[in-house]
């Protein structure tokens, strides 16, 4: 069978409710969000023929395929690097569809990351996160020193950047306040109806002094999110307005790793996001000014600034001024994380912010960008990114 290059598109998105205790298995969450994505697209789950998730997702492909009645799975893969994997799932789905390897790729991430285990707490004797494939191989060099949580690793990564540019914790508060304002208007968000003020941010407890307060950190959440990727041609015949995957890529520069990322040359930049930006802008022929919205991985607020700078939305060190002047707001230059992000909506490992990008292009967000037509959306998870576009 001859293969030919095919454009890929997102045909369906699905999610469970986002909670702190789902009351059911991670596999059930995966099955529910997968079914929701298929129904959204109008694709029979039996016809899924590709499956992609994160290396650290606990559900097995076969078990999920058994729930969905998948007839013949032609392609499976998993992406390393924890949350950095998020946008790489779209990248790989695009590549598989482009190459003609499969037609209906299901991307999923489902977890009981609050009720069953907690990323934000000290490890409970579980060595899982220090193992290969998680992209976090140097965590074991941190643990004997009391850096045992993602917030501690993230703060240590952000410290040099914040020192160099005089970014204060109060500066970070503008990101939290904006995202919580979005969440307050999003019924799916855990913090629906609960906006915060800068003073709330400043009075929240220190998690990592003097860099991160509680309200600088993503949530811990239970829930699942799924995306159905198919060819642009097929997507045009399906239920929803297709969202074209115009470009997607990954970049892991030398000596860069996920979160315990202290060994590359310049700790005041995010080289992986710079690498993604370079390839993504070259691949699409677009520039930062062509984006009408962005979904940016926000495990911790400083990393939003580092990504805004890496993608060229502002100059190095100017991220704090960009967000302070309303850069992320609906009427600002780059409405960002309009679902409330991982701090305001839920922490489904970045996946929930990516499908907000799909909603913005469809015109169905609760915080819809209306000042301009959403033609292009950037999704970034640091080591990977994609440009989604109106078809």
């Amino acid at each position: 069978m001859a293969r030919k290059f095919t454009e890929a598109a997102i045909a369906g998105i699905g999610q469970t409710e986002f909670s702190k205790a789902s009351g059911r298995s991670e596999l059930q969450l995966a099955a529910e969000c997968a079914l929701a994505a298929c129904r959204d697209a109008g694709v029979n789950p039996h016809d899924i023929d590709g499956m992609i998730t994160f290396t650290i997702d606990n559900s097995d492909e076969i078990n999920l395929a058994r729930c969905l009645g998948v007839k013949d799975l032609a392609y499976t893969t998993r992406i390393p690097g924890g949350g950095a994997a998020a946008a790489a799932t779209i990248y790989q789905a695009m590549a598989a569809v482009n190459a003609g390897l499969c037609n209906n790729v299901l991307i999923w991430r489902a977890m009981n990351e609050r009720s069953q285990y907690r990323f934000g707490q000290n490890p409970q004797g579980q060595q899982m996160q220090y193992q290969s494939g998680n992209g976090t191989g140097s965590l074991l060099w941190c643990v004997p020193y009391g850096a045992m949580t993602p917030a501690s690793w993230g703060a240590l990564q952000a410290a040099r950047y914040m020192q160099k540019y005089g970014v204060t914790n109060r500066d970070l508060g503008y990101i939290s306040v904006q995202q919580r304002a979005y969440a307050a208007n999003n019924p799916a968000a855990w913090f629906y109806g609960k906006p915060i003020t800068l003073e709330d941010h400043q009075s929240s407890k220190w998690i990592q002094e003097p860099w991160l307060r509680l309200l600088d950190c993503c949530q811990e959440s239970d829930g699942g999110v799924a995306i159905l990727v198919t060819s642009l041609d097929r997507a045009r015949d399906l239920q929803q307005k297709p969202v074209h995957i115009l470009g997607a890529t990954q970049s892991i520069p030398y000596n860069v790793e996920v979160i315990s990322n202290y060994y590359h040359d310049d700790l005041t930049v995010m080289p992986e996001a710079q690498g993604v930006a370079k390839r993504l802008w070259a691949m699409t022929g677009l520039a930062p000014s062509d984006m009408q919205m962005a979904a940016i991985y926000d495990a911790f607020t400083p990393h939003v600034l580092l990504q805004l700078e890496a993608f060229g939305f502002c100059k190095p060190g100017e991220g704090k001024d960009f967000v302070k002047s309303g850069g992320m707001a609906l009427d600002g230059p780059l409405p960002t994380n309009t679902n409330g992000g991982l701090s305001g909506e839920a922490y489904i490992h970045g996946m929930n912010s990516m499908i907000e990008g799909v909603r913005q292009i469809r015109g169905t967000s609760h915080n819809q960008v209306t000042k301009k037509t959403v033609e292009h959306v950037l999704v970034s998870s640091g080591m990977a990114g994609a440009v989604l576009a109106r078809a």
């Binding site: 000290n122 220090y130 850096a147 990592q208 002094e209 860099w211 509680l214 202290y262």
Partner: protein, 148 residues
């Protein structure tokens, strides 16, 4: 053998270390073995002389498998730091200062800055290596302000 009644009163036992021991992998065993002996060592390529951290089986510059274990000066500067407040890190009575140390040899190492008040820590502050005990009779390199 003495009995409790006829022995001299014993000095109070030193408190047992509560810091968790290092997680030792095969490629980093040399490092932790040396630390147990209060030696701070690093990996240098036996052919081209490149220092690498974290340790690895192959030189990324000349692909040599010839690893040299060499003493490091133990001098460096504080490149960045954080004080973990919540959750309180396991094994520490008071919040430690966790720091990325920029070593003289051009590599970086995550450690603690000890003998330093939380409000005394400064970017690029010179520090020197010292050692602290962990559970299970191991030791780990930590750093204190130079001159203290």
């Amino acid at each position: 053998m003495s009995t409790p009644t006829d022995s001299a009163p014993a000095a109070p036992a030193a408190p047992k270390p509560t810091r968790i021991p290092p997680i030792v992998t095969l490629d980093a065993k040399f490092f932790w073995d040396a630390a147990d002996q209060e030696q701070f060592v690093g990996q240098k390529c036996g052919d081209c002389g490149l220092f690498t951290f974290p340790p690895r089986p192959m030189c990324p510059q000349c692909f040599s498998l010839n690893r040299q274990i060499v003493p490091l000066s133990g001098r460096g500067t504080v490149h960045g730091w954080t004080i973990p407040r919540h959750p309180a890190p396991f094994g520490f009575k008071e919040a430690p200062i966790v720091a990325v140390i920029q070593l003289e040899e051009g590599i970086r190492f995550v450690s603690n800055v000890v003998d330093c008040a939380h409000d005394e820590i400064r970017p690029d502050m010179p520090v020197v290596v010292t050692f602290e005990a962990t559970m299970n009779n191991h030791k780990v390199p930590v750093f204190k302000p130079a001159g203290k």
